[in-house]
Structure formats: C-alpha cells, structure tokens
Amino acid sequence: MAGILVYVLAKDGEFNKNSLGAISEAAKLAGQLGGEASAIVVGGDFADDKLATLGAYGAAKVYKVSGPEGLAQPAVDAMAKVMTDNGLDVALFGGGLLGLEIGAGLAARIDAGVTMEATGAKADGGKIVVERPVLQDSQIVDVGFSGKAVVIGRLNSFEPNDGVGAAGAVETVDVEFNDFSLKAELVTRGEQRGEDVNIEDADILIAGGRGLGEKDKFGLCEDLAGALGGAVAATRAVVDAGWYPYAAQIGQTGKTVAPKLYLAAGISGAIQHKVGMQASENIVAINKDPNAPIFEFSDLGIVGDLHKIVPKLTEAIKAKKGA
C-alpha cells in the first residue's frame, strides 16, 4: 500500500503546528494518490489518547516510538523501519531544523529522492510532484521522483486542519537504534536566551538585523517602537550574536508573526526570516543595499542608511502624534 508518513515534532507534550499542517497536507495528497496518511512520534512519552488526536488532522495511523526526542538520527532509524515494514514510500515534514536533518538522513537511508523548502505538493498521474522555490525564490521548480520521496516543507506552507478524520489508530513500534544514532546526546533543549519578550501580540513590529551594526543600536528600534506603540523583533543573525533575546526572533527557528506593520531595519530578507513575517499586512524595509532580497517583498522600500533615517523617523512620528 502506498502511503505517506509524517514526522511529528513535539516538545513539552505539545505537537508542533507545522507538523499538524503536514499531516493535513499528507491526508490530502494520500487521497489523490490512493493511500493513507500516517504520523510518527518519537519520544515524549505521549499517552495513546493524545496521540490519537492526530487523527483529526488526517493521520489514519499513529506510530509511537519510545526513544530520544529532539535529535534527528533516532528518528531516521524509526521512520526507516516504519516505512519499510509498512511499505510506505513518501515521507513528509512540516519544515524547521529537525525536519531538514531527519529528512536528509532518511533519504540517504532508504535511497529516496529528497526535496526541501517545498511550498506545495500534488499528485500527477499517480506520482507526487513537489513545488520548490529556488535561488532566493526567484524561480520555482517542479520536482518529480523516481521511487521513494522525502518532502520537507517550507515553514508555514501547510495549514493544519483538525476536521479531516476521526481518532487515529495508535500502534507502538519497537525500534532498535543504530549505535551511531545514540552518539549524540541532548544535554539541554530549547534554552531561551535573553529575556522573555512578547512580540506575537503586537500590531506594530520594528525588527532589527545585522545592519544595526552593534548591540547598543537596538535602542534605535526601541525608540521607534516606542513612538509607534509597537514592540521590537530581531533576526537570527543578531540573536546568535547575543544582541537581542531569542524570544524576539522571527523566522524558521523563531516566531511566526503577522502584524499590521512590520518595519525591517538592516535586514537582508533571507528566506528563513521571510517565512516568519511574510503574512504581515504592511512591510516596510530600510536597507542600504538596493539589491537586498527584502525589497522583493516589501510594500515600501527605503534604500538608505538606517542610522540616519530611523532617528529622524522617530522624531517625526513623535511630532506628528503630539500635533
């Protein structure tokens, strides 16, 4: 039986929204291909009735594997076994970092084709065809597979729909992990660096990137956010550099937001950032590089030096509000 297996990422007893979206996408695809969608959860010690809730999103079956969570290679072992034992030939991931790692390792293991950053998938003549933007989203390619397929979605490409099916049938699978799969050991997971800031509820976000030049220059964003009544967000580059808290990070391994106004200062607009903010109502970007990718998806682009523009913009907005 042809079928699609979806990896479900979870932490602290909660399933990841993008994994739920992937289940719904898989159910749709499986319907077109004439098979079933199933889900797999590795580790996390879930109760069967919680796992069965994945059925609502479209997983007819839920494979439960006990083992290390938060690492890729044990999940590769588990998925390879489940796919082989049950004759499944497509694996689907909702995106993120672990999805990339597991998907790539799985493709190597089961000798499948692998496509990442998928924004859509369809059945064409009984075979799966995946849509993938390439070269900084300047082109979209349709990818086909000979044999098995591993499809790793772009973050937020698949919407969860919990009205697809009934409770999933939970099946416990014992997996014997490879020696090398156990040679990475998670010491701490999901550490929040920096203070806990709330950017998800803000209508206005002023986001700062590496173009700010140094940590202290986040003050420029904070002042502008203060004047407009918004909050401050950041890119991974500046979070990794320790300039701003992780809780304020937008993108693939950060938050997804859709404020009324998103103003980017000194941000290049990398895909991994874009996936977390492209649904914003109004996107304004200030960047000194006229070729910065962010101008491709901003509603108002300003080519210039943020250090000169932002302070004056803050003053002008304060003056306007005071008037």
Binding site: L97, E191, Y246, I309, I317
Partner: protein, 265 residues
C-alpha cells in the same frame, strides 16, 4: 585528529544566478568562488587546531565538482587547510543532493577523518542537507547549524538553535558537523598563504578511484528530477524610495505620510 572540511565552488555572489531552461540545471558559466558558508567551516577547523584542547594533525579540504572547482580548494588551502582532494568525474554531473552526499561520503571514507566539517548551506543549492546525508552513509553522529563547538578528548560539545530555542548536544567522534555562519568570523588569507596555496598537495580522484557505484550518481542515478521551471507568482511591486540618503528629511516625510495613509500612526 584529522579534520576534513567539505567545500563547494558556487557562482560568485555578484553573479545573478539563473537556471538554464534547457538542461534545467544551474547556469554555472559566470564568475565563481568558494561557497562563503564554507569559510566558516574552515575557520572552525583552524580554531580547533589553534585552541589547543585537542591536537589537530591535519586539515584536508574536499570537494566534488568540475575541473574549475580546484580554485575553491586553493582558496580553502589559503584559509588554512593543509592539502586538498578533488572528486571530479563526468559521471557525477547532475547529481542531486542525495547522490552528492553519497559521493562525498565515498571520498571521505578513503580519508578516514575523525571530524567532518561543512557549511550550513551552499549558496547556490540552498539544501541544508548534505551533512545529514554524508553522516548517514558514514554511520556517524551528526548535527547541523552548530554555532558553538568545543572539543575535549573524543567528545564535542555543540550548541545550535533549533525550533524551540538553543540546544546543547554532546557528540562522540567521529562525527559530521555543519556549522552556522554565526560560529565565527573567518579570517582573511595572508598574501603569503595565497601565494603558497598552489604549492600544497592537491589530489584529483575519479568516481572509480573511491568505489562510487556509477548507478547511484549523476543525472541518471539521482532520484529527483526537475520537471518544470516557472517564474514566481507576480506580486504587485511595492513603492521604493531610492537614494534616501541624499534627502533624509524628504524620505522621512514620505515614510510618515505612507504610514499615515494606512492609519498606522
């Protein structure tokens, strides 16, 4: 300890990248350069060597690519690698990411490194995947996007950002680690190093030399096929204030009225 660093030749950042509609492959005709993300992997190897916590006996740069990819190796050597290996073979052309990872794993097997380092992504392929593919073939533990790397004995302590925040992971060598671009600030090669790089050993190998199964590589051995090529959906292009620096006050006034019109102030 022996470190192998995977490096790739990619179109230079200044070249506008396009896909050839005939071959459906990347047009590689323009200026080329070492993948900028790989310079962080070389730098990470150098810092392990210079850090002194472990003894690094050798750093080998490894690439798979056409004849021209030698220049990426030379650049890698100027940045600190001791020697380099080029896997080049017409039969490898058109390999997808899984086939590329398999071929690279075969070359690496012939080198038996204790640590394989690579970049977070290739600037042209943007697959973020070669590390995990290589690791599965080599049966080694693996992590990607590592932004802090410490070695002690045969253990690496790695930090990286995943979906829920920062993870700290201990990995036992031999291992395959791809590093994020925040891990370090790559050095510039000295003039002496640039001059000397061409004199360091560069070994060229064919697919047969390293026991690659020809049926698993190249366009015919790849399990993915590019079926079609389309432009992205047309989006109404936004407004642009070019050269704002020439008239800051004017630009600011325009931004304010733009925001005001949309009731954002």
């Amino acid at each position: 300890m022996k470190i192998a660093v995977l490096v790739k030749e990619v179109p230079d950042a200044a070249v506008e990248k396009r896909i050839d509609s005939g071959t459906k492959r990347l047009d590689r005709s323009g200026e080329k350069n070492l993948n900028p993300f790989d310079t962080h992997a070389i730098e990470a190897a150098m810092q392990l060597r210079e850090g002194g916590a472990v003894q690094v006996d050798e750093i080998v740069a490894v690439t798979m690519g056409p004849e021209s990819s030698k220049s990426a190796l030379t650049k890698a050597v100027s940045l600190g690698a001791d020697r380099s290996v080029q896997l080049t073979d017409d039969g490898l052309a058109g390999s997808d990411v899984n086939a590329t990872g398999y071929a690279l794993a075969k070359v690496l097997e012939s080198e038996s490194p204790d640590l394989v380092l690579l970049g977070q992504q290739s600037d042209d392929g943007e697959c973020y995947a070669v590390g995990a593919v290589v690791a599965d073939h080599l049966k080694m533990p693996s992590l990607t996007q590592v932004v802090k790397l410490e070695a002690s004995g045969d253990t690496l302590t790695c930090e990286r950002q995943a979906e829920y925040g920062y993870d700290t992971v201990k990995v036992t060598l031999p291992a395959v680690i791809s590093v994020g671009d925040a891990i370090n600030e790559p050095r510039y090669p000295s003039l002496k190093a640039i001059m000397g790089a061409k004199k360091k050993p560069l070994e060229t190998k064919s697919a047969g030399d390293v026991g690659i199964d020809a049926g698993k590589v190249g366009e015919s051995g790849s399990k993915t096929q590019v079926l079609g090529l389309n432009p992205p959906p047309q989006k109404a292009s936004g407004e642009l204030i070019a050269d704002a620096d020439d008239d800051i006050d004017g630009a600011v006034a325009k931004i304010v009225s733009w925001l005001d019109e949309r009731k954002l102030i």
